[in-house]
């Protein structure tokens, strides 16, 4: 399995990860070392298990009753699926941004502050809110309307609010599950810029359908596909420039040049 050349210590890594829905194996044999403080994109055709893998990173799959996994996901030396690991604290460190913007039906301020509050944040919430919104490039647009409902914002603003909300918990890793799929091109561009600036401080893993997006924003790219048994599998993983210009595998090349299927 090809792995990135730079031999950083991994932010999070998987060891022969396989994920099942009931008896159906949705993903198999994933060995992936995510490079810290970089953006890693996971691309691949629909149904190849990209989102499933992403949701495994912060145990969001726990809420799908039939879903279980084999193998390991190592985070700071712990397998996050070990029985003594608390999924809630995993999620405090590994935040997530979802496909559709999903702000809470609360004020903008409360949207940001809530996660920090429940996690026992003691310092000034005002500062935290401002800081998070600034990082998410939303502060200037909303600073006068912090008491307004989060639902009153436009789609792109809502998604940036969701990013700010994730930042306020001070996570280590941010997972993004097709964060721009519900947005128009201009809003998409803004989110992409934002991701670039966030990558200086956070490790970001993004699942995307959009290959251009992967090429534009990510440092590393993992390409997944489906085998005959419909189980998703990682085909190739490497620096984005390499994957898009000199793919080592035929399947990768077919996919990125649009000859897939």
């Amino acid at each position: 399995m090809s792995q990135p050349q730079n031999n950083h210590k991994a932010a999070i890594s998987t060891r022969s990860l396989a994920i099942y829905y009931g008896d159906f194996r949705a993903v198999k044999d994933v060995d992936l070392n995510i490079v810290p403080r970089r953006i890693t994109a996971i691309i691949g055709p629909s149904g190849c298990g990209k989102s499933t893998v992403l949701r495994a990173f912060n145990r969001m799959n726990d809420f799908i009753p039939t879903c279980h996994s084999e193998g390991e996901i190592l985070y700071h030396g712990h397998n996050i699926y070990d029985s003594d690991v608390d999924p809630v604290s995993v999620r405090q460190h590994i935040g997530m941004v979802f496909q559709k913007p999903n702000p809470f039906p609360k004020s903008i301020y409360e949207n940001i502050a809530w996660g920090a509050k429940i996690n026992g944040y003691k310092d000034s919430l005002d500062e935290l809110v401002e800081d998070s919104l600034t990082q998410a490039a939303l502060w200037d647009e909303v600073k006068d309307n912090l008491t307004q409902s989060g639902l009153s914002l436009s789609g792109g603003q809502q998604q940036r609010l969701c990013i700010a909300r994730a930042l306020a918990v001070k996570p280590d890793i941010i997972l993004m599950d097709e964060p721009c799929s519900a947005l128009d091109p201009i809003a998409t561009l803004k989110i992409e810029e934002l991701m670039r600036s966030l990558s200086k401080k956070y490790t970001i893993i993004i699942v995307t359908h959009n290959m251009q997006q992967a090429a534009r924003v990510s440092d590393f790219t993992a390409f997944f596909t489906m085998d005959e048994d419909r189980a998703g599998r990682m085909v190739e993983y490497g620096e984005t420039s390499q994957i898009f210009t000199r793919p080592r595998k035929k399947q990768t090349e077919d996919y990125i040049t649009g000859r897939y299927g």
Binding site: M60, F63, V88, R91, Q92, I118, R165
Partner: protein
């Protein structure tokens, strides 16, 4: 070839003009009449209640002010103050809601957030059975089980044989399924993505429920409580059997007191003569009940439709 096989239709063969369809029209009218009957029944309700209530207020010794402010209800000696009936109604309703809201809401949370599909399939029918039991059976339960229980627990001297507490508690059990199923609908309407978002911020399940899901479902829950109040105010059989007959102005829930519905049931249950003050009083109280429940339902449904708008 094919042109020969399938000649173009002649223009005269194509008739697209409007033609009379008598059955269609007849059915339309019939269905319209069906739809209008409900309006008719509302109109007759208003006329009946209004007309006979008016007769009551036109009685020489009845005034609207006395009716609304008097604290003695004894039509036989010309005392027509509705307050004792209203307080008894409010006290039983209060206890009913104190039982139904916490239990019903908790049960709804369990069903919507915790129960697996199988457990839900098992528990929901039980709640439906509870909802389907006629209120007279609840009345029997209140009188023959809860009241003796209360008297054992709190002392025979303190608890009267007929008392508002017993009626209120049992009424609470009766409307629990209503609160539960409406609240569950409200909880269910909260998008799943909000729960995901809360979890992804490191929240525990209970924090997610109390701080995200419940606030988001609040208007639906409030609506369920409003409708439950309306049900409790209009409930008759439990109070007729367990709360006592004969009005009394008391705030002690362990005492007997007659509610508005209880009075109507008692007076009409005997063979009373038409057009006596007692008889006309039924309509005045009925009018009060009708308007109260009407307004409560109206508010309840306004609130419900508002929470639907937010998420659909």
């Amino acid at each position: 070839m094919s042109i020969v096989d399938h000649p173009l239709p002649r223009q005269s063969d194509i008739v697209i003009y409007r033609k009379p369809r008598w059955t269609e029209g007849f059915i339309h009218v019939l269905l319209f009449i069906c739809g209008s009957i409900s309006i008719l029944s509302t109109i007759s309700l208003v006329i009946v209640l209004g007309h006979d209530a008016l007769l009551f207020f036109l009685l020489p010794d009845v005034t609207l002010v006395d009716f609304l402010t008097g604290t003695t209800w004894l039509p036989s000696i010309g005392k027509y103050g509705v307050i004792p009936l209203v307080t008894a109604t409010l006290i039983t309703t209060f206890f009913a809601i104190s039982v139904a809201l916490p239990l019903g809401l908790s049960a709804a949370i369990f069903l919507s957030e915790y129960a697996s599909q199988r457990t839900r399939g098992l528990l929901k029918p039980i709640l439906e059975i509870l909802a389907g039991i006629p209120s007279v059976v609840y009345g029997f339960f209140a009188l023959t089980f809860i009241t003796p229980l209360l008297r054992t627990l709190l002392g025979n001297d303190n608890v009267q044989i007929y008392n508002m507490l017993s009626a209120g508690l049992v009424m609470g059990i009766m409307i629990l399924p209503l609160v539960c199923s409406m609240s569950e609908d409200a909880l269910f309407a909260v998008p799943h993505s909000l729960r995901d978002a809360a979890y992804s911020l490191g929240s525990t399940k209970v924090e997610m429920i109390f701080q995200i899901v419940l606030p988001a479902a609040l208007s639906g829950i409030i609506a369920s409580v409003i409708l439950a109040i309306s049900r409790a105010i209009g409930e008759t059989m439990i109070v007729a059997l367990a709360a006592g007959s004969g009005s009394s102005f008391t705030f002690n829930p362990l005492n007997a007191a007659e509610t508005m519905t209880g009075y109507i049931a008692r007076i009409s249950g005997g063979d009373i003569a038409y057009d006596t003050p007692e008889y006309n009083a039924i309509f005045a109280i009925g009018f009060l009940l009708f308007t109260t429940s009407f307004v409560l339902n109206l508010i309840g449904r306004r609130v419900t439709s508002r929470f639907r708008e937010v998420y659909e």
